[in-house]
C-alpha cells in the first residue's frame, strides 16, 4: 500500500499541476487569448491560432530532463524549432508569398514604390528608441524590424541578431500584424483631411505578361546587388513570383503558395509560440519589446501617410495620391491595403483604393527585406 502511495506521490511530482507557477498560468491564458482572437475575431487566424496553441504547448509545466521541451536538445519541438532558430522557415514563407502575390499594381504604378520605402522609417525609428532604452545595437535592430510588419522577416533577423529575444519579437510582430486595422485606422484619420481622403486616383494600367516576368528578375538582381545580405528573403520572394508569372511552372508555383507555405506556417507558428516559455518570456524586456513594436508600427504608418501628403504638394491636380494608401507601405499584405480600402470607402463609398494600396503594400515587403538586409550587414 505504501509503495502505491509513494508511486502516486512520485507521479504527482511529474505532473504539470505540481510544477505549475503563476507565470505558467499567465502564459497559458495569453495563448488562449490568441486562439480566441484568431477564431472569434478572425484576426490573422492562420497565425494567431498556431501561435496561441504553441504558447499553451510551450508553457505546460514540467520538470526538466524529459527531453520534450523546445529548449532541450534533440526533442521533437527542438528539432522543429531549428527552422526558426537557424532562419530556414522565413525564406520558405517568402517563397510562398512571392508565388501568391500579384505585383501588377506595383508594376503599373512604380512611383508608389517610394511609399513602401517611407514606411520603413518605422523600423529605424524604433531602432533609435531601443538604443536609448539601453538595448545593444543588434538587439535594437532586431526589435526595430517589428515596424516592417513582416513576421517572417522579424523572425529571420532576430534569429541572426538577437536569438534570445526572438520569441518576444516574433509574438509582438504577429500580434501587431493582426491588429493592423485597430492601430492604423485612427492614425490615418488624424493625419488626413476630409478633402485628402476624397482624392480619386486614376485606374492603374493593364500590365503585360512580359512585364510580369521581367519584374522578379530585374527586381532580384537590383535589390540583391544593393543588399546581398537580404539574399535569402529577396531571392525567395522574387523566385516565387517568377514561378507564378512564368506560366510554365504552374505546379511549382501552386506547391509554393499552397502546401509548402501552409506546412511552414504551421511549423513557424507553433514553434514560435512554444519558444515563449514563461521563464524566458515574462520579463520587463518583453514588455519593452511590445511597447517598441507598437511604437514602430505607429511611426511606420505615420511616415507613410505624411510622405504621401508631402509628395502631393509637388504633384499636379489629377496626379495626386490619396494619402490613405500611405499606411499600406508596411508589409502586412493585404491587411494594410484593406485598411486603406475601408478608410477610403468610409469617406467616399465609390472610391476604391485597394488596387492602389496594393502597390505600396507589396513594395513594403521588398522594403522590409531590404531593411533587414541592411541591418544584418551592419550588425550581423
Amino acid at each position: 500500500m505504501d509503495t502505491i502511495f509513494e508511486s502516486l506521490q512520485q507521479f504527482w511530482q511529474y505532473t504539470g499541476f505540481a510544477n505549475c507557477t503563476l507565470q505558467h498560468i499567465i502564459m497559458i491564458c495569453l495563448g488562449i487569448v490568441f486562439i480566441v482572437l484568431g477564431i472569434v475575431k478572425e484576426w490573422e487566424p492562420l497565425l494567431l491560432v498556431p501561435i496561441g496553441f504553441g504558447i499553451v504547448v510551450g508553457n505546460i509545466p514540467m520538470f526538466p530532463g524529459l527531453n520534450v521541451g523546445i529548449y532541450e536538445d534533440g526533442s521533437v519541438l527542438n528539432i522543429l524549432y531549428q527552422g526558426v532558430r537557424q532562419g530556414w522557415y522565413p525564406p520558405l514563407i517568402f517563397l510562398g508569398i512571392g508565388a501568391m502575390t500579384d505585383f501588377s499594381a506595383l508594376i503599373s504604378q512604380p512611383r508608389l514604390m517610394l511609399i513602401g520605402a517611407a514606411a520603413q522609417i518605422g523600423i529605424f525609428g524604433a531602432y533609435l528608441i531601443a538604443l536609448h532604452l539601453g538595448f545593444s545595437p543588434n538587439e535594437a535592430g532586431a526589435i526595430g524590424i517589428i515596424g516592417g510588419a513582416d513576421g517572417p522577416t522579424a523572425i529571420f533577423l532576430s534569429s541572426k541578431l538577437a536569438p534570445d529575444l526572438m520569441g518576444a519579437i516574433a509574438v509582438s510582430a504577429y500580434s501587431y500584424m493582426a491588429l493592423v486595422p485597430v492601430i492604423q485606422k485612427p492614425i490615418m484619420k488624424i493625419l488626413t483631411t476630409k478633402k485628402e481622403r476624397l482624392i480619386r486616383m486614376a485606374a492603374p494600367r493593364a500590365v503585360s505578361q512580359r512585364e510580369k516576368i521581367v519584374f522578379p528578375i530585374v527586381g532580384f538582381i537590383l535589390t540583391a546587388f544593393v543588399v546581398p545580405s537580404g539574399l535569402p528573403l529577396l531571392g525567395m520572394l522574387f523566385f516565387g513570383n517568377l514561378l507564378k508569372e512564368s506560366g510554365v511552372t504552374r505546379r511549382l508555383a501552386e506547391t509554393a503558395r499552397g502546401p509548402l507555405v501552409d506546412v511552414v506556417t504551421i511549423l513557424i507558428g507553433l514553434t514560435v509560440g512554444c519558444s515563449t516559455q514563461a521563464d524566458k518570456f515574462l520579463s520587463t524586456t518583453s514588455i519593452k519589446i511590445f511597447g517598441l513594436g507598437l511604437l514602430s508600427f505607429i511611426i511606420a504608418t505615420t511616415c507613410g501617410v505624411l510622405f504621401v501628403k508631402a509628395w502631393n504638394l509637388f504633384l499636379p491636380e489629377g496626379k495626386k495620391i490619396n494619402p490613405l494608401i500611405g499606411n499600406a507601405g508596411v508589409s502586412a499584405v493585404p491587411d494594410s491595403a484593406r485598411v486603406s480600402e475601408g478608410a477610403g470607402r468610409e469617406a467616399d463609398p465609390k472610391n476604391h483604393l485597394l488596387m492602389h494600396a496594393m502597390a505600396p503594400n507589396v513594395a513594403g515587403v521588398i522594403g522590409s527585406a531590404v531593411a533587414a538586409g541592411i541591418l544584418l550587414s551592419f550588425l550581423g
Binding site: L106, I107, S108, P110, R111, M113, L114, G116, A117, A118, Q120, I121, I123, F124, G125, Y127, L128, L131, H132, S136, P137, N138, A140, L161, S208, R210, E211, V214, F215, V218, G219, L222, T223, V226, V227, A363, I366, G367, V370, A371, I374, L375, F378, L379, G380
Partner: protein
C-alpha cells in the same frame, strides 16, 4: 540525348565543380607553430564552411611532402568554419591522428600538403633563433577580414585565434562609433529609399520598353523610306484601286474596310494584332 541536353549537363557539371571547390583545402592555413617542449602545429580554417582534411599530409621536409599522412579513418578530421585544430609534432604518431611522426625544430618549416601529396597548401617557417618559450604565428588585423599577413613571434596560444588587438563584433564596433544610432539610421533609410528608387526607375523603363511596339515603329520607318522612294508594288496598287472603287461605287462598308486594311497593311505595314480567332456567324 539531344545536343541541348548535353550542353545543359555540361554546364550543370561545371557549376557543381565550382560548388565543390567552394569550400576546400585551400582555405586551410598553418596559423601558428611552436617548437619548444611538446611542439605543435596549429591549422586554421579561414572559410565559412567545414573543411575535411583527412588524406592530407604534414611534413617538415620539402623533399618528403608525404611524411605524415592524416588518417581518413578518424571522424574528427574536419574543422568547422573559422575553427582551429592542433597537431602535436612530437614523433608520437602511435598516440593518435593528431600526433605527427616527426618532431618540429627551430629553423625548420612546417608544410601542410594536399591529398595529392604534391601541392603545398600552406607553410610556416620557424626561425632558428626563436626563443624556446615563444611560438611563430600568423596574425590578422581583423577577425572578420581574415587576412593573415603579419608573421612574428608571440606567446603560444594553441587553439586560439591570432588577432592584433581586441576582437570586437560588428555590433560592438557600431555601439562605439555610433552610440546614438543616427548614422546607421540615416544610411539605412537612404539605402532603402535608394533601392526602391532604383526599382522605380528600372520598372518605369521596363514598362516603356515592354509596352512599345517596336515592329510598328520599324514598319513606320520602313514605310517612310518606301514613300520617299518608288511607286507602290502591284499588290498594293491593286488593293488601293479596289479600295477606291468600293468606296466610290457601292456603299459596301465592310468590303471598303477590308480593302483599306489591305492597303494599310501592304503599303504601311500597319495592322492590328488580334487574338487570331475568327468567328463566323452564319446568316439564316
Amino acid at each position: 540525348m539531344t545536343k541541348a541536353k548535353v550542353i545543359l549537363t555540361a554546364i550543370l557539371a561545371l557549376c557543381l565543380c565550382g560548388i565543390c571547390r567552394g569550400q576546400n583545402l585551400s582555405d586551410l592555413i598553418i596559423s601558428e607553430v611552436y617548437v619548444g617542449q611538446a611542439p605543435w602545429i596549429e591549422v586554421l580554417n579561414t572559410s565559412n564552411g567545414t573543411v575535411k582534411f583527412s588524406g592530407c599530409f604534414l611534413t617538415d621536409d620539402r623533399n618528403d611532402l608525404r611524411k605524415y599522412y592524416i588518417s581518413k579513418r578518424d571522424a574528427k578530421t574536419s574543422v568547422g568554419p573559422k575553427q582551429l585544430v592542433v597537431f602535436y609534432a612530437d614523433s608520437l604518431s602511435n598516440e593518435g591522428t593528431f600526433h605527427t611522426n616527426f618532431t618540429l625544430k627551430a629553423g625548420s618549416t612546417a608544410y601542410l600538403v594536399s591529398t595529392d601529396g604534391r601541392t603545398i597548401i600552406d607553410s610556416l617557417s620557424v626561425p632558428s633563433t626563436i626563443d624556446s618559450l615563444k611560438s611563430i604565428a600568423k596574425f590578422c588585423h581583423d577577425a572578420k577580414e581574415l587576412i593573415f599577413d603579419n608573421i612574428h613571434e608571440a606567446d603560444p596560444t594553441p587553439g586560439s585565434f591570432n588577432t592584433l588587438g581586441i576582437v570586437q563584433s560588428k555590433a560592438e564596433r557600431i555601439a562605439q562609433k555610433d552610440p546614438h544610432g543616427l548614422t546607421i539610421t540615416l544610411v539605412s533609410v537612404s539605402v532603402v529609399f535608394g533601392s526602391l528608387l532604383l526599382l522605380f526607375i528600372a520598372y518605369t523603363i521596363v514598362g516603356i520598353v515592354c509596352n512599345t511596339d517596336f515592329k510598328k515603329i520599324f514598319a513606320k520607318c520602313r514605310s517612310r523610306k518606301k514613300k520617299a522612294g518608288a511607286e507602290p508594288d502591284a499588290d498594293t496598287a491593286a488593293a488601293i484601286a479596289m479600295a477606291l472603287d468600293l468606296a466610290q461605287g457601292e456603299a459596301n462598308e465592310t468590303e471598303a474596310a477590308i480593302a483599306m486594311a489591305l492597303h494599310l497593311y501592304l503599303n504601311e505595314q500597319v495592322h492590328d494584332r488580334e487574338s487570331y480567332i475568327i468567328t463566323i456567324r452564319r446568316k439564316h
